[in-house]
């Protein structure tokens, strides 16, 4: 669930209430309503306005639960000593009132709290700004690698979709693509089964359950989430309009969208992966960093990122190192990329032997067309294509004529097509091309379509209902009205039985008590009461100059006492 998902589920007035919190006073309402996720600098300013208590609660949520839903009780179990449970409860409530944490319920289940996935990465970045866990390397360091750098994920996705287009997308009786199509499509994907995938998807990712090899399933899932691929009653189909929009994006924009999806859809499912994804996403691009040998989560995450073509892994003086090849923070507010179509960096080159060289900065639209008319022989930095009888037959099936292909290639290369290539093109293609519209309209005729994702999201926003009636701070302290006011206001000596009652009340409210122990007045956090044959004792702790002191106190060991009632925000 992202911030946008929640905003869409809430009424305007409810969202307005969040935006009007003093924490967001530096932002106007419209900004808050429209921007999802909120801009990093805005979030940074909000962080500076949070109280120490709120900061601690938020940091605990970020580090322990990431963006996964959690119960209040789970938070209290994870709470650091040094702050009472009631302070956590009040802090959590205040974060919910500010629209930082959201409260939902699944069916008739218990009240759950969570950080929206996109906001999780923002808060994490701010909280762990100086604690990425990786060390930068000197510019003079030497690197070694024998790893093949795979095409970036946007290209792997494009190649897979093109293969589906070529091989057909009909399902078998098991509602899966045919074995041949699966094998051919999977061949375009460089993602390998790795530790990060095991952690994220667990055993449910095994092929018998999802029907596809996990790497292919991920690419299909992403294609569906991007609305490029949809499911008809008996087949997948490519959403031509959405694909055209996608192909108009620059490669950087595509990678950014995919990286964000990978972080928000997959990484968040495993707290250690989410943590690694979040802390590495704040690093600069192209700079080398060293991964500590014991930092397994970073290693796993880097391996996966390298399979996506987004990161490069290497060795330097016996240490594993990495660098980002894309902008790792997928929430940059960038201006629309200036169109530099057909500059020399994007031009393809066509050799007279029929090889077509496609440079790394060629547009996605051009690459898609190349996939439709030619076979890719090499997917290195410069992709190499060749047209052959089979590829041209497929192109003819899509409605391309030799003239159209020649024009396309001449336009993309800025040069006249070599004679031999043109001659081959003409002789290899039949001119009885099918009507292109007939092909392209497949599946976009309003028949039953599903664009849902392929991989189940256990925390999908569809599974939860938001709770907007927040409890008040006082409602967290059951029995407050019946509590004698002097327990709260007066520092007094009580009978041992009353002392126990005060402590039981403090335990149920998870608050501290003030105790006069000899000369000293201490703030004591009770954890439990132990009863023995000869009496009872309270076990808990107190904080002294930053250290936690564990104590077991019998009622005779202190004199005056009172409940330390927290003041809700």
């Amino acid at each position: 669930m992202n911030l946008r998902d929640m905003i869409d589920k809430l009424s305007y007035s409810q969202v307005e209430r969040f935006a009007q919190s003093t924490i967001w006073s530096h932002m106007d309402l419209e900004e808050w309503m429209k921007d999802s996720p909120l801009a990093l600098d805005g979030v940074h300013a909000a962080w500076s306005k949070l109280s120490g208590q709120q900061c601690k609660v938020l940091a605990t949520i970020v580090s322990r639960f990431g963006a996964s839903p959690f119960l209040e009780e789970q938070l209290l179990q994870e709470a650091d000593r040094g702050m009472t449970g009631s302070a956590y409860r009040l802090g959590l409530l205040s974060l919910a009132e500010a629209g930082i944490v959201f409260i939902v319920r699944k069916g008739w289940g218990e009240r759950l709290y969570f950080l929206p996935r996109d906001m999780y990465f923002h808060w994490h970045r701010i909280i762990y700004e100086r604690h990425t866990g990786v060390k930068p390397l000197a510019e003079t360091a030497a690197f070694w690698s024998d790893r093949v750098t795979p095409p970036m994920l946007s290209l792997q996705l494009l190649h897979t979709l093109a293969e589906l287009q070529r091989s057909g997308m009909k399902w078998t009786a098991k509602r899966l693509l045919s074995k041949r199509t699966i094998d051919r499509s999977a061949a375009h994907i460089m993602i390998k089964q790795c530790a990060a995938l095991d952690l994220i998807f667990g055993s449910s990712s095994s092929p018998p359950l999802i029907g596809y090899p996990l790497p292919l399933a991920i690419v299909l899932d992403l294609a569906m989430r991007c609305h490029l691929l949809a499911a008809a009653p008996a087949a997948f189909f490519i959403q031509e309009k959405k694909l055209a929009e996608w192909l108009r994006l620059t490669m950087e924009e595509q990678e950014e969208r995919l990286l964000r999806m990978v972080m928000e859809q997959y990484a968040v499912r495993c707290p250690s992966c989410a943590h690694a994804a979040a802390r590495l996403s704040g690093l600069p691009m192209l700079q080398w960093f060293e991964i500590e040998i014991e930092d397994a989560s970073a290693q796993h995450w880097c391996e996966w990122m390298a399979d996506m073509g987004w990161m490069e892994l290497a060795w330097s003086e016996g240490k594993q190192v990495f660098r980002w090849l894309v902008t790792p923070w997928p929430y940059e507010r960038r201006k629309a990329a200036a169109s530099d179509a057909h500059n020399n960096n994007q031009r393809i080159a066509i050799a007279s032997d029929g090889n077509i060289y496609v440079p790394p900065y060629a547009s996605s639209a051009l690459r898609w067309q190349m996939e439709m008319i030619a076979e890719r022989e090499q997917s290195e930095s410069i992709a190499v294509y060749r047209m052959n009888v089979r590829s041209l037959k497929h192109a003819a099936g899509l409605g391309y004529t030799p003239q159209q292909i020649a024009e396309l290639l001449e336009h993309a290369s800025g040069e006249r097509l070599p004679d031999l290539v043109y001659a081959d093109l003409s002789s290899s293609m039949n001119n009885d091309a099918l009507d292109m519209q007939r092909i392209l309209n497949l599946g976009s005729d309003g028949s039953e379509q599903r664009t849902a994702a392929l991989l189940h999201d256990p925390a999908s926003c569809h599974l939860y209902e938001p709770i907007v009636d927040f409890p008040t701070g006082k409602s967290l302290f059951q029995g407050l009205e019946e509590t004698p006011s002097n327990w709260l206001n007066q520092y007094r000596n009580y009978h041992h039985t009353t002392r126990r009652e005060l402590l039981e009340r403090a335990l149920s409210w998870r608050i501290s008590v003030k105790l006069q122990c000899g000369e000293d007045a201490v703030s004591f956090v009770p954890e439990r009461i132990e009863t023995a044959a000869d009496g009872w004792a309270v076990v808990g702790y107190t904080e002294k100059t930053g250290d936690i002191l564990h104590m077991r106190l019998e009622p005779a060991m202190w004199q005056e006492m009172m409940l330390e009632f927290p003041h809700p925000h």
Partner: protein
């Protein structure tokens, strides 16, 4: 990925693409050719590849990995893939890690890093060749396994710098003539001189063996002869066929002070062993029966050869490789137009003959005027009236022949002859019946395998002397036939998709011409038949060498070709 404005694009598999149109392309090419092999050069994107062998060849020329990487960075358009940098460093730095030297007692010593030697000594394929050395970082090597050891180490990825030296061989005084038989002056061209120097490598322990790569017509034979003269020793020359044997002998007599009786021919018909002996690969690998020994391999030991020349080294047969492994103390020179072998045994050429010492691309020689500037055309000819139906109804196996023998091609040939008056023209074909018809129609002599050798040589001579302007030949003219003044070749029909045949046929016209140094190659194919596909395959090698084909269509109604190509034949033939 960074963007720079360089002409080179390095791929992760060590392929390098060179954009020939870039202003820095010439400078980049010059550097690149020192450590990468030119794979193909169709159009303006040329493909090079760095291989272990090319990098070791570069390392042998004192180029370090750091130099190579720095040059690639300097000329690269995009950031270099880290994997490629790592591989270049790893491979190039392997050269020189192992050294073979002669010990004081005449044995062989393999020197190298002790850890590496330990690792290699455990390999079963070389364990028996090595024994403990007197100190760390040294192993004693069996002298009789010098070639096999080098061969195996290269296979394991570790080249050996062989500084164990050569025996001198029997001395033989050979001088190069200043004036040849025809009376014209003779001297080595600069690049030929340079090639010999690169082979000889004076004062270098590892000189005296290696391969020179030059295109057809560049004078490989002359370079071989110059190497014999430089070394002044008895020499065994191995070549691909009898015609080539005769050509070598003729060149030796023409350009050196050697007398006829000092040059022996060793082939099926005649087996002379002289101070310079020229033999064919076929005779060396001849066995009467399968189980027999190679009877003629003894030729390697029959005299104290100081040099063995392997002509067309890319055709060197496996048994000769095996024999060569035992001849590592003899200097070896390989000559070829391409190092690429169909059997993939380039590594054996490197370890047993030696590293590549010199390479010159075809087009570079053309620019320098050392070979003729050739233009290639594919002319698509429709079937003669009524023959199309016969083709359509024919069985698949006869279709190729029907297309090849298309009668309309003869009309095209007549027109082409009229376009090139006064030029020496070869008409080459696959089918005898068609060739007989062509010869009759054009009143030109015909040279086929049916003709005795002596008759063939007479015809060649008359053609060379200019007595005959048009000669019709069958595929017997494919190999090693020296026809210096053929300026035009018209291929009536060819065998399916043989790239080698196409290259050989074009090679016939590339030798430099006395007049304007231009040449034309026409391949006639029947329109709308499988022949166009075969032609396309045949053209690949030449395309890769930078020879684009213009496509023209023959119009029977007007008796000339039309369009399709910006360069009209008529214009081109002026």
């Amino acid at each position: 990925m960074n963007r720079e404005d360089g002409p080179l694009m390095l791929q992760g598999d060590l392929t390098v693409l060179l954009d020939e149109r870039h202003p820095k392309a010439d400078a980049a090419r010059e550097k690149l050719s020192q450590f990468a092999d030119l794979i193909k050069r169709p159009g303006h994107i040329h493909t090079y590849r760095m291989t272990p062998l090319s990098l070791w060849n570069a390392a042998a020329s004192q180029l370090s990995a750091a130099d190579i990487i720095a040059w690639l960075k300097q000329y690269s358009r995009y950031e270099l893939p880290l994997r490629s940098i790592s591989q270049i460093r790893m491979l190039a730095e392997r050269y020189g890690q192992l050294m073979l030297e002669r010990s004081t007692d005449g044995g062989l010593l393999l020197h190298g890093n002790e850890v590496l030697l330990q690792m290699l000594s455990q390999q079963s394929s070389i364990r028996s060749y090595l024994s403990a050395g007197q100190r760390e970082g040294q192993r004693a090597a069996r002298a009789d396994c010098r070639g096999l050891l080098k061969q195996e180490l290269v296979r394991l990825g570790y080249p050996v710098v062989d500084g164990a030296g050569y025996r001198r061989g029997e001395e033989l005084t050979v001088g190069l003539r200043c004036r040849i038989g025809s009376g014209s002056q003779f001297e080595l061209r600069d690049y030929q001189e340079h090639a010999v120097n690169m082979f000889y490598r004076a004062d270098r322990d590892d000189g005296g063996s290696g391969v020179l790569v030059l295109p057809c017509g560049a004078g490989k034979t002359v370079i071989g002869i110059a190497a014999i003269a430089r070394l002044g020793c008895e020499t065994l020359i191995l070549t691909s066929n009898v015609t080539s044997v005769k050509q070598w002998k003729q060149e030796l007599i023409d350009k050196t002070t050697l007398a006829d009786h000092e040059i022996g021919e060793y082939a099926a018909s005649c087996k002379q062993v002289c101070p310079v002996t020229i033999a064919t690969y076929q005779i060396l690998t001849y066995k009467h029966q399968r189980s027999d020994e190679y009877a003629h391999m003894k030729l390697f030991q029959e005299r104290n050869w100081g040099l063995i020349i392997y002509d067309e080294v890319h055709l060197l047969p496996a048994p000769v490789f095996r024999m060569t492994a035992d001849l590592q103390a003899t200097r070896r020179l390989g000559l070829t137009a391409t190092l690429i072998r169909e059997d993939g045994r380039e590594e054996d050429v490197f370890s047993l003959i030696g590293p590549k010492r010199f390479d010159m691309p075809w087009k570079t020689l053309e620019s320098a005027g050392a070979i003729a500037a050739a233009e290639c055309f594919e002319i698509r000819v429709p079937f003669a009236h009524g023959d199309r139906a016969a083709y359509d109804n024919a069985e698949a196996r006869t279709k190729a022949r029907l297309a090849g023998e298309n009668k309309e091609k003869l009309e095209t040939v007549k027109w082409l002859l009229s376009m090139h008056p006064g030029r020496q023209i070869l008409i080459i074909g696959q089918y005898l019946q068609q060739l007989h018809a062509a010869a009759a129609a054009l009143h030109a002599p015909l040279l086929t395998g049916e003709l005795p050798h002596q008759e063939r040589e007479k015809l060649y001579k008359r053609f060379k002397d200019g007595e005959i302007e048009v000669l019709v030949v069958s595929k017997v003219a494919n190999f090693a036939v020296d026809l210096p003044d053929a300026a035009v070749a018209i291929q009536l029909s060819g065998s399916y998709g043989s790239r080698q045949e196409e290259a050989q046929r074009i090679g016939r016209i590339l030798r430099p011409k006395r007049s304007d140094n231009r040449a034309w190659f026409y391949t006639l194919v029947t329109e709308g038949t499988k022949e166009t596909e075969f032609a396309r395959k045949r053209q690949l090698f030449m395309l890769e060498q930078g020879y684009p084909y213009d496509i023209c269509c023959w119009q029977p109604s007007i008796g000339r070709t039309v369009k399709e190509s910006p360069a009209q034949i008529e214009e081109a033939a002026q």
